[in-house]
């Protein structure tokens, strides 16, 4: 039985984003898209989350925060980079303070490009992330409940 698929809880973190993608992420929760249909909960607590949704690139200030949030999440966990800035830094790539995409700091499982990423593509990314989550859970089980 798919244990992970039916209740993916999402933690949304805004890196060095322009807020465009953040608004689209929140739009997913509105009546038009309603991701709660799939059991998705937008939680504010990394310890309850299964999927880390990051918008915007990573700068020197938020790097340690992202690392800490990621380390607080319980296995199995999946990271989704939403928007082109989260994928590779986007238009801010050459800024002196930007390190680049999310994968410069933590491992990313799903990339959702777009500027801003549309709610449809964000939902698509989350659905892909849920499959990876299930896969990671199976691997975790094979290793006897141990992480990694």
């Amino acid at each position: 039985m798919s244990k992970m698929k039916k209740s993916p809880w999402i933690m949304h973190y805004d890196g060095a984003s322009c807020n465009g993608c953040d608004i689209e992420v929140l739009a997913c929760l509105t009546p038009l898209y309603d991701v709660e249909r799939f059991g998705v909960i937008n939680t504010g607590n990394p310890k309850h989350a299964d999927i880390l949704l990051i918008t915007g690139g990573i700068n020197t200030q938020c790097e340690s925060v992202v690392k800490q949030i990621y380390s607080q999440m319980a296995e199995p966990k999946v990271v989704v980079a939403v928007g082109i800035c989260a994928c590779n830094g986007g238009v801010f790539k050459d800024c002196y303070n930007i390190k680049g995409g999310v994968d410069t700091t933590i491992p990313v499982d799903v990339y959702v490009p777009g500027c801003a990423a549309r709610p449809e593509s964000i939902i698509d990314g989350v659905v892909k992330a849920v499959d990876i989550l299930e896969e990671k859970y199976e691997n975790m089980k094979k290793k006897g409940g141990k992480a990694h």
Binding site: K6, P31, E36, G39, G44
Partner: protein, 294 residues
């Protein structure tokens, strides 16, 4: 005067122990679906609560400290103990004190983690207890004044008129604290039932995976027990009254969902003021009048 045999009371407690998680889980699913419909959304499956618990149980065990699990286990144990006492027809005072003990364990479990968010949640939980405790006590006293007994089993067999007839004020006062107990807006200070974000996740911040599942399970047990108290107001010595008392508690639950979706969260001093005013005016006055005219 007939009384319910001990075997039947033990069976009722056993049924509660086995069936309450299923009823509680369904109640939470219904809550989420109806809340979503009220907001113009489709909402999740009605079985979403069960999916969540299954997922939480299969996540990695991340305990902040070892003692936390013991405290949460005690919370679950005392909640089940409270409900079992109630459905076995024991003393209402004993039942409410057992409920208080259970909630103390929850607050201690959160405070034991030393996390600032969880500690703040624990403090708010204690404030909530301060707000609702007088009313729970008055509910027990109200039942005694109305029916002449503290035992919930004897109320079932002895009274002709449902308690709601003589205790309308106590009933409304109990609805006030039910908002706190079910963790609904506007009084969901320590943590909210839904995933609204206030001081991260309040009292449940440091519980993750299977440990959090333990807390959710306890809440399902607790909710079923609370709905049992609501139906006590509508029950009399007619066996069919069980049916309409269940119907009444379902209606009360729907009213709670409506209140949840039409209110914003209040500050703790407002909560304390409002619940204590409701306790004094509705609860105490009702019992006082009943005492005089009886």
């Amino acid at each position: 005067m007939k009384s319910i045999p001990l075997e039947a009371r033990l069976i009722a407690a056993a049924i509660y122990f086995i069936a309450a998680p299923f009823i509680g889980g369904l109640l939470s699913g219904v809550d989420r679906v109806i809340s979503a419909r009220m907001q113009g959304r489709k909402g999740p499956s009605i079985f979403q609560g069960f999916y969540d618990i299954v997922k939480l149980l299969s996540k990695q065990r991340n305990c902040v400290n070892k003692i936390q699990v013991m405290y949460l286990g005690s919370f679950l144990f005392f909640i089940i103990f409270t409900g079992a006492l109630f459905f076995a027809g024991c003393d209402l005072l004993m039942i409410f004190f057992s409920l208080t003990t259970a909630n103390i364990f929850l607050a201690v479990a959160a405070a034991s983690t030393n996390s600032p968010y969880a500690t703040m949640g624990a403090q708010r939980e204690l404030l909530q207890m301060l707000a609702y405790e007088p009313m729970t006590l008055l509910t027990a006293v109200g039942f005694y004044v109305a029916t002449g007994t503290f035992k919930s089993a004897e109320m079932l067999t002895q009274i002709d008129l449902p308690a709601i007839v003589s205790l309308p004020g106590v009933f409304v006062g109990f609805l006030f604290i039910l908002v706190i107990k079910l963790r609904k807006h506007p009084y969901d200070l320590s943590t909210s039932h839904h995933a609204h974000q206030e001081v991260v996740k309040g009292i449940s911040t440091e519980f993750s995976g299977p440990v959090y599942a333990l807390m959710e399970l306890s809440h399902w047990y607790e909710n079923v027990f609370l709905m049992g108290i609501v139906s006590m107001f509508f029950i009399n010595n007619n066996p069919w009254s069980i049916l309409w008392s269940i119907a009444a508690s379902v209606i009360v639950y729907l009213v709670m969902i409506l209140v949840d979706n039409t209110n914003a969260r209040m500050k703790w001093d407002n909560m304390l003021k409002n619940t204590w005013i409701a306790t004094m005016v509705l609860g105490a006055l009702n019992i006082f009048i009943l005492h005089i005219f009886k």
